[in-house]
Amino acid sequence: MSESKGQAAGTTGRIVAGALAPHPPHLVYAENPPQNEPVAECGWETLRWGYERLRRDLASVDYDVVVVLSPHWQTYIGTHILAHPRFESLSVDPIFPNLFRYHYQMDVDVELAEAIHGEAGRAGLVTKLMQNKDFRVDYGTIVSCHMTDPEWRTPVVALSSQRSHAYYSVEVMQEQAAALGRATRAAIEATGRKALLLSSNSLSHRHFVTESAVPEDMSKEHVTNHNQYLWDMKAIRMMREGRTKELIDTMPEFTSQAITETDAGSLTWMMAAMDYPTDPGELYAYGNVIGTGNAIVGWLGGER
């Protein structure tokens, strides 16, 4: 491997911050009105305010790459990693095409992508580099990146969500996600990067199956059921109290009981990469989007 940016600068690679950064496309469309047909009425605004505060705090964090794992790039054979220098296309949400059609230009830190690929392979994980320039980046990755940095100032490394659960139990899938997290950390350290990690997922994830007549009718929005709300609050409490290892240990039950999007492995991956932070996560917002539970939580540590 050639000398990395971080090594050249004589710095030590490290994860400087991590954030649970859910990706409801509903949060972006009001920010992007020319591409969308409804007139924004500030639905789900409290979540946007949360992201606004996260961005404000991240402004004082020195990071040079964003590493994100999204549930919406689903790969049934191993974890795949974007590894082409630049992706530029139009992302249309297959579920809410009326809300989200986003032109993006994404620079990729290919060196770090290759390093993660190498470290994961040495850890016994199946990974593959995605080098097809025509590939369309998933909307989960785009929403989480946009909401944390609408200017796209730093390059990105995007990881897919490995879905081999035809074979593996939730526990084994979780172990694989944790191993991927450790490999990610090792690659970041080896390449001298200062990385912001994004876990792009909601908590409880049972959708409504119908829509209100007014797209942003907040009088209709609520968590799908009380059980899921209780689980969301339990998870948030653990994050706010720095009990992240306990949260991850609870994850199989959380996933099962609350039908969570954490089954994508993204939160487990990030917590393992950050070696299970014990400092309190900062809760920036919690809100429901078509019944799902979405928390924005940051661990910005001492880097601010």
Binding site: W73, Q74, T75, Y76, I77, G78, H80, S89, L90, S91, V92, P94, I95, F96, P97, N98, R101, V126, K128, M130, Q131, N132, D134, F135, R136, D138, S160, R163, S164, H165, A166, Y167, H207, F208, V209, T210, E211, S212, A213, S219, K220, H222, T224, I290, G291
Partner: protein, 464 residues
Amino acid sequence: MSAGGIIKGLIVPGLPQPLLAPEQNEGWGRIRAAFEAAREEILACEPDLLLIYSVMWPSVIGHQIQADPNPKWVHVDELFHDLGSIPYDFKMDADFAAAFKDAAIARNLHARTVSYYGFPIDTGSVVALKLLTPNNEVPACIVSSNVYSDRAETVVLGKAAADAAAATGKRVVAVVVTTLSNRLFTDFIDPADDHIHSPKDDEWNQKMLEFLRAGRLEDVAQLSREIHRQIRVHKVVNFKPMWWLSAAMGQHNNYTGRVYDYAALYGTGAAVVSLTPSASGVGDKEYDEEDVEVYSGNRNVLGGPEGGPAPTPPKPLQSTVTAVEAMAGVMSTDAAPKPVGAYPHARRVGDLLYLSGIGPRQPGTDAIPGGPIRDADGSPRDYDIRAQTQAVIDNIRIILEAAGSSLEKVVDITVFLVDMDRDFKGYNEVYAETFKPIQATRTTVAVRALPTPIAVEFKVVALL
């Protein structure tokens, strides 16, 4: 207009190897050849449309139907991206998509069309269309596979597809994009080493193919949950494409089944199978309590008021009488709006014909001329009592004539209005235009509500 309907069914896999890399594995090449043979069979029956149900297009909010008349893109599979890009330029039937959406809504499903530049058409649909209609010889329509849809809902969606084919008069080939066993390997393989993941999966695949070869589609559909338990994985819940296909094609086992080929695609079981309706087969399906006409699941999760009674399904607009029950003079006709309960349109007693209460809903669509009296949230809406009244009279005429009677033979009418003060004058004027010369006896009463959001209903007795 020609007689529309689902004229053939097709089962095809959606992984991209047969399209992009048929030369890398003998089985992948055979599946490619099977696609091409199936294409010839399709073209020979001169269809108007390929209707694709793809398990690789999941939806969350109801059922989505592709309605972009000319989607263009360069597609890359999210898993097998190293096989290359797939440019496409498809021809879609937007009118059929709209008719399918309307038919689905009429059966109380949540459905919408999507027509957006750059909408991500799934790999399975892209592969099927590229191989089955490479030069857009036949236009297409694609419907999503809702992740929350249970059996009853999926069956209703299949019936809505048949409704749309009948209503548009189009000859439709229904295509389901799905593997049989769906266990991919957990690591990348040398293509030459591809094989069905396990003997158990292979045995179940062979059993399914045996059924399909014998034309037993409904039997496969009824076994779907068991098949899923044995050889499926999360992504294709309960092997639901067979529910959809069987419902769309009439829920029976009377087909000529043709298995073009069967091979492994990265561990999964891939087969190309055609099913052509035939006059006979292995026999009727078993009783099925999940065979429903209208979806009635509780979707009231938004907190609004419960809606009114579920609407009844549409029937082809060009239909005439399709069922005259032998039992005790009972008769119903598909040309009139379907009853909302367990009663016929009419019953003969001696020389008299007694009609059930008849409202203004339109046969085939359940639309209410003049508009419903309340919206889905229960909020009152403005409506035209004159248009509703005329529609009631038209429906009565259809039923009477189907039973061998006529409006001129009506002897007694009871009229129900939900708002006497508002509507009596308008209804009375329209009534007079038809019934003044007939001079039937009449009683008009006010009622609090009728079973659907309508303002007027007639109860008629006529001579035969």
